[in-house]
Symmetry: C2
Subunit: 218 residues, 2 copies
Amino acid sequence: MSPPAAVIPTAPAIVRRGRPRKTEGERDEGNRRQALIAAAARLFRIKGFDGTSTRDIAAAAGMQSGSPFYFFQSKQALLHAVMQEGMAQAEASQAAALKALGARAPAQERLRTLVRHHFEVLVGEGSDFIPVMLYEWRSLDAAQQQQVRALKDTYEATWMPVLRALHRAGRLKARPEVARLFIFGALNWTVQWFSGGGKLTLDELTHQALLLFTGEEE
Amino acid sequence: MSPPAAVIPTAPAIVRRGRPRKTEGERDEGNRRQALIAAAARLFRIKGFDGTSTRDIAAAAGMQSGSPFYFFQSKQALLHAVMQEGMAQAEASQAAALKALGARAPAQERLRTLVRHHFEVLVGEGSDFIPVMLYEWRSLDAAQQQQVRALKDTYEATWMPVLRALHRAGRLKARPEVARLFIFGALNWTVQWFSGGGKLTLDELTHQALLLFTGEEE
DNA sequence: CCTACCGATCGGTAGG
DNA sequence: CCTACCGATCGGTAGG
C-alpha cells in the first residue's frame, strides 16, 4: 500500500550554507560507488541476486533507498559491475601470482600456483565477487554475459598451456579441455562447503587437489 | 495498488449438479500434487527459487494462482518437496545401478557406475530435481536443510568405500574424504556448462572423469 | 545524494 | 481446487 497522501512533510529543509565541499564531494563519488559494489557483492553472495533488495544494499552502504539509482541505472547494472570488478581483480592478481613464480617454473608448480590463487579468490578474505559471478550468471542479460564471459575466458585461458604441458608429460590423463572444466568445477564448488574455521587450510586443500588431478607425489 | 473495491462480481455461480466425481477426484489428487512438484522443479532450475513466482508454477501446472496453497503450506514447502522427491529418486536409482553391476565388481567399475549415474541425475532427461537441490539450498529453513541433508549424506556415503578401496590400491592419491568433495564438485558443476547438444556424450564424459581422478588406463 | 512517491508483483488467505 | 482479495515489498523515478 502507498503511504497516505495526507501526511505532509513539516520538517524544515536543511539549508546548506557556504560553498559546497566540492573537492571532497568529488573525491568521495568513487568511494560511494565502490561501497555500493562491495555491499552488493556481499549481499548477493549471501542471499542471491533475487533475494537481495536494492534497499538492503543501500542500507548496507549507508544510503537511502533510492540512492543506488544515482550511481547505477538498475539493480542488474550493479550486479554487472560486481562481476566486472571481480573478474578484473582476479585476472590481475592471477597474472601477478604467475609472474612472481617466475617464467621458468615447471608446469606442476604453475598449476599449484593457479589452484592456490583460485582458492584465495573463491574463499579467501573478502572474496565475494567471484562467487557472485559464478552463481548469479543467469541474472545478467545477454550482452552483459558476453562481456563478462570475455574476462572469464581470459582468466581460464591462462590455465590451458599448463594443462597441456602436464598432459604431454603424462601427468594429466584426461583431455586438457575437459580437464579444465572438471577442475574448475571441483574448485568452484568449494564455495559450497569450505569454511575457514575447519582444520583444512588452503595450502592443504591445494595439495590434495594436485594429488587428485595429477597424482603429484614429490 | 489493490483493485478498486467498486468492481462487484456479477457472473452467476456455476452450480454443480449430481454427485461430485469423487473417485476420479481422489485419484487425481496425487497427480495434481506431482504436477506441481514437477513444474516447480523445472522453473526453480531455470529461474531460481526467488525468481519464480507461485503464479508461474500454478500456470505451468494448469491451475489458478491460489491453488498451489491447497497442496502446500508455502512456496518453501514446495521447494522442500522438490528436493525430497529428487533425493529419494536419486538414491533409489543409484542403489539399483550398483545392484545391476553386481556385488563383486572392482572398485574402478563401481566408481564408473556411480559417476555415470550421477551424470544422468544431473543433466539427463527430465532431471531438474537434483540441480535445484544443489543450487537452492539456502532457501530452505534449518529444519528442512537438516532433513534433506540426511538423504544427501546417504547418497554420498555410498561413494566412500569405493574411494577408500581405490585409495588403498594407489589409484586415487588424494585423501578419500577430500577427494569426494572435489569429485562431487567437478561433477555437479557440469550442470553449468554441459548441454546434450554438444559432441560430448555422458559416456565420454564419464571416461574423462575417471581418467582425471584415477588416471585409469585399461 | 535524499524525499516522497508510483505501479507492479508477490506470497498467502477466506470462503466456498 | 477457484474467486476475490489483502498487506507487504519491490525496482525505479521526479524533483530538488
